[in-house]
Amino acid sequence: MSQTTRLEEDRALVAAVQAGTPGAFERLVRQYQGLCWHVVQRLVRNPEDVRELCQDTFLPVHQCLHQYRGDSPLSGWVGQVAYSMGKRHLERKRIPLAEALHEDGPSPAELVPDAFDLEATVAGDELDRHLHAAIEALPPLQRTLLTLYHLDELPIGEIATITSLAENTIKSHLFRSRKLLRAALVTHMGVAA
């Protein structure tokens, strides 16, 4: 879907909500609940907290919808509120949002002599579990950025809107986190071999 079409659909949806069209806000929530869930879940993790914070995200979105100008995707706006909710929750719990990642791990590619059919041969349950454990071990901010970029496929510019971080900062976080995950993968494969 092109950016223009997306914006037109967002504007139409917002207009429908503001006009009091039955079911319009429910449609809006349904459309963006996945994004909201991903953002909050990656930051917070506790299922009950996630549900409550997602609910708390959409209520101010509804209340402040008149402020939406329609010049940027609604996903950025919803994501921004969700991120803000999750971040405040972490602050209340005194959980650090971001931590420096240390890249000094084992050298990656050289440890795998023949990786031609790597995906087909090693993509087993154990490896999958190992990678997921490594993802879960990342700090909340890094987990969230990776999810927005890989799972929700948001461009870095839109992630910058959501998180209020500079694009280069996001790029740096993505780079270092992925490098770390690759190192964790290679280490595991070396141990398993």
Binding site: E26, E119, R182, L185
Partner: protein
């Protein structure tokens, strides 16, 4: 790599190394997303596995009635006669 952990490297050599590895990561992301046949680059193959794991949705999802329940709550909140948009609301200050 120089600079604080959240910035891109400033030294030309570090910057070049960063760009090479970044391109590897991005190629793997594209190939994994578009389900291309795996090529012969070990680095890309490893990053493809990372990319595949990152694309998997978390186990927890919104309950099926979530949107309906939230819409009802929003309607109730909106119906309150004295409600005004507080400037400290998350949407206004995010």
């Amino acid at each position: 790599m120089t600079g604080p952990f959240n910035n891109l490297p400033s030294e030309p050599e570090d910057r070049a190394a960063f760009e090479r590895e970044w391109q590897l990561q991005e190629r793997a992301r594209r190939e994994q997303r578009e389900a291309h046949t795996a090529g012969g680059n070990p680095g890309v193959a490893e990053y493809r596995l990372v990319s595949a794991a990152l694309r998997r949705p978390p186990a927890s999802r919104p309950p099926s009635n979530f949107a309906h329940a939230v819409a009802e709550l929003a309607a109730l909140a909106h119906a309150r006669p004295r409600w005004t948009c507080a400037s400290s609301s998350a949407c206004c200050v995010a």
